[in-house]
Amino acid sequence: MDKISRKIWIAIIAVATVILIALQYLALNEDHDHWYDKIPGFWSLFGFIGCWLIVVASKKLGKLFIQTEEKEDKYVD
């Protein structure tokens, strides 16, 4: 992607983030009023850190013992 569309992408994401964080406070109700609901962008952090954690932890586990050098089998159609 070229530089201009990259800037547009970043702008769209930034605007969406701001809107979602603002809406987070409108969404509070008696069922959903936990301590974490009041942290700005809590679920954004959850998504970001969760994704990072999954990738890093899985790759680590893969290196430790899950991955083998064994090649997978061929499609012979």
Partner: protein
């Protein structure tokens, strides 16, 4: 309804016709049967049942309640989608096994007693194996056999459990099992856990599904695990152990999907992950959780079908299925990409798609039942779902740098597009009109998925998973490596096991055979020329030349006379 028979019979009897009709008509018959089956199931009324006396028992071959009905309906719909998607296929064996497999799943969904359950359970195991054998990978046959052994083990455990259950004085009818101290119940549970692919009993799934035939994988992704979820909901609601196993499943699949390289392998690990949500639902056992698990099974069958169809189309068109060989296919497979993405948005829980309206139900049920930790772990698993199925797989298949030719080798049959389109349309339909699905659920519900809190929560998670992916995507490129899963427990010792049970017996037989041959040969040699034993006869042992060694006639006459002389002397 005046005519009453179990819906499974439509597929099972229909399968008998398949070999008798021309190849081109076979898929049309499958589609016709599936439409008939959908209509028949749709018209069944809750409370209907069908009992046949058999020996001393009353077999409930069909029992219709809301739980069995919703599973029966979705299993019939899969028959239709699979039939359309595989319309170009003419192979009789593949269609017969697909129909028997669908019939088995329907039979399980409507079975009212353990005996009927077991019969259909085994039918599913055997029929589905053929779909793996029909795969075009070098390992398809071996993986199919491993799959079959695993499921025969599961079936045997189920049978053992049922026999013990009867010996404990219980009836044959399938009722909720509550006694957690009964061995019978545990045997049944472990038998069902195998089919539900609950770790550590799951390795058969990622071993076999990626190697199955293209159409076969669509059926496989729908029936085996979901019919087991149905049995868990039917027999084991509220078993706490299932909550923990379910959440382990949900995350286990995610970790392995990071490492998987085969596109259908990634999807296979995500079946495990998604079924984890349903198993959690069964474990919680509240009305909302049972509803959520049923709804999620229904949604899952649709979107997972779409995903497997999309991946199958890539495999069909390019004859490649590994991320390390794919990439850059967007230009040549644009439509497939977007149809696949419907499934990807659905499984990731995007608002307006059917995963959103069902996954949220299970997750909320966990939260409402006070399992906060489970609630967060399930949301974490859903991050992984979007990461792999919604981002990694499509990115490295269609969008990213091409690791192989960016063109296709074969044109895709139009019916494949129609099949995936039907599945995708249903994903969107139920996403837009969740109430239709909610009205079919086992319990009445006033759950509203589209509330602001839930929308904000999902959108924030999805948006930032996307951002994290874009930053980390280099790390996520496929690696052409194998992965060690719990199947190493039987695949590694397999050669040693073969040495003990097969090779050692073989070599003993070989040794004995050789020994006996030697003895026989020795005895035969000794008997060739008995004259050699007479001293000074000049004959060689083991050699007999009739022209040389044949005794002269006079010798025979001489012996004859001597014998008579001896007899005469003895008589006097």
């Amino acid at each position: 309804m005046s005519i009453n028979f179990p819906p499974a019979l439509i597929f099972i009897l229909g399968s008998l016709l398949i070999p008798l009709i021309p190849g081109k008509l076979r898929s049309s018959l499958v589609i016709t049967l599936a439409i008939g089956c959908i209509a028949y199931v749709a018209n069944l009324t809750v409370g209907e049942s069908l009992v046949y006396p058999f020996l001393n028992y009353d077999l409930i071959v069909m029992r219709v309640d809301k739980l069995s009905w919703i599973f029966g309906l979705i299993f019939s719909i899969v028959g239709l989608i699979g039939g359309v998607y595989g319309f170009h296929k003419e192979h009789a064996g593949e269609w017969v096994s697909a129909l028997l497999y669908a019939g088995g799943a329907l039979g399980v969904a409507f079975a009212g007693d353990f005996f009927t359950l077991l019969v259909f359970w085994e039918l599913m195991a055997i029929a589905s194996t053929i779909l793996i054998f029909r795969g075009s990978f070098a390992q398809s046959q071996a993986a199919g056999l491993r799959y079959l052994y695993y499921h025969l083990l599961g079936g045997s455990l189920l049978l053992g459990g049922i026999i013990l259950h009867m010996r404990e004085g219980n009836s044959l009818a399938m009722e909720v099992l509550t006694d957690t101290s009964s061995l019978a119940n545990w045997l049944i549970l472990i038998g069902v856990m195998i089919n539900a692919a609950i770790p550590p009993l799951h390795a058969w799934l990622p071993d076999s599904y990626p190697r199955a035939s293209i159409t076969g994988a669509v059926f496989l992704s729908a029936f085996t695990t979901k019919s087991s979820v149905y049995i868990l909901l039917r027999l084991f609601p509220g078993w706490d152990v299932l909550i923990y196993l379910g959440v382990i499943m949900a995350l286990y699949g995610v970790v392995y999907a990071v490492l998987a390289n085969d596109i259908r392998g990634i999807l296979a690990y995500h079946i495990i992950s998604q079924v984890g949500y349903m198993v959690v639902g069964a474990g919680i056992g509240t009305e909302m959780a049972i509803n959520g698990a049923s709804a999620h099974a229904f949604s899952h069958i649709l979107y997972k079908g779409v995903l497997f169809m999309g991946a199958g189309m890539v495999l069909h068109a390019t004859a490649r299925s590994k991320l390390t060989e794919l990439g850059g296919l967007y230009k040549s497979m644009r439509l497939t990409f977007w149809l696949y993405m419907i499934g990807a948005f659905s499984i990731s829980g995007f608002p307006l798609f059917n995963g959103f309206i069902s996954k949220s139900m299970v997750v909320s049920a966990a939260g409402e039942a006070g399992h906060k930790g489970i609630y967060f772990l399930l949301l974490l698993a859903s991050v992984g779902t979007f990461l792999h199925t919604g981002l990694k797989l499509p990115y490295f298949t269609w969008l990213g740098k091409a690791n192989g030719p960016a063109t296709t080798k074969r044109a895709l049959p139009k019916n494949m597009y129609v099949g995936i389109f039907i599945g995708g349309s249903l994903c969107v339909f139920f996403g837009l009109a969740p109430q239709v699905l909610y009205n079919w659920l086992p319990y009445n519900t006033d759950f509203r998925p589209y509330n602001l809190y839930h929308l904000v929560e999902s959108c924030q998670i999805l948006l930032f998973t996307f951002i994290a992916f874009m930053l980390l995507r280099k790390k996520l490129a496929g690696e052409n490596k194998g992965v060690v899963d719990t199947d190493f427990l039987y695949r590694r010792p397999a050669p040693a096991f073969q040495r003990v049970t097969v090779d050692s017996v073989n070599s003993f037989f070989g040794f004995a055979e050789k020994g006996f041959k030697k003895i026989v040969a020795g005895v035969a040699t000794l008997g060739v020329n008995p004259l050699a034993y007479i001293p000074f006869s000049g004959e060689q042992k083991g050699e007999f030349n009739p022209d040389v060694s044949r005794p002269p006639l006079a010798r025979g006459i001489c012996v004859f006379i001597l014998v008579f002389v001896a007899l005469a002397l003895w008589a006097f």
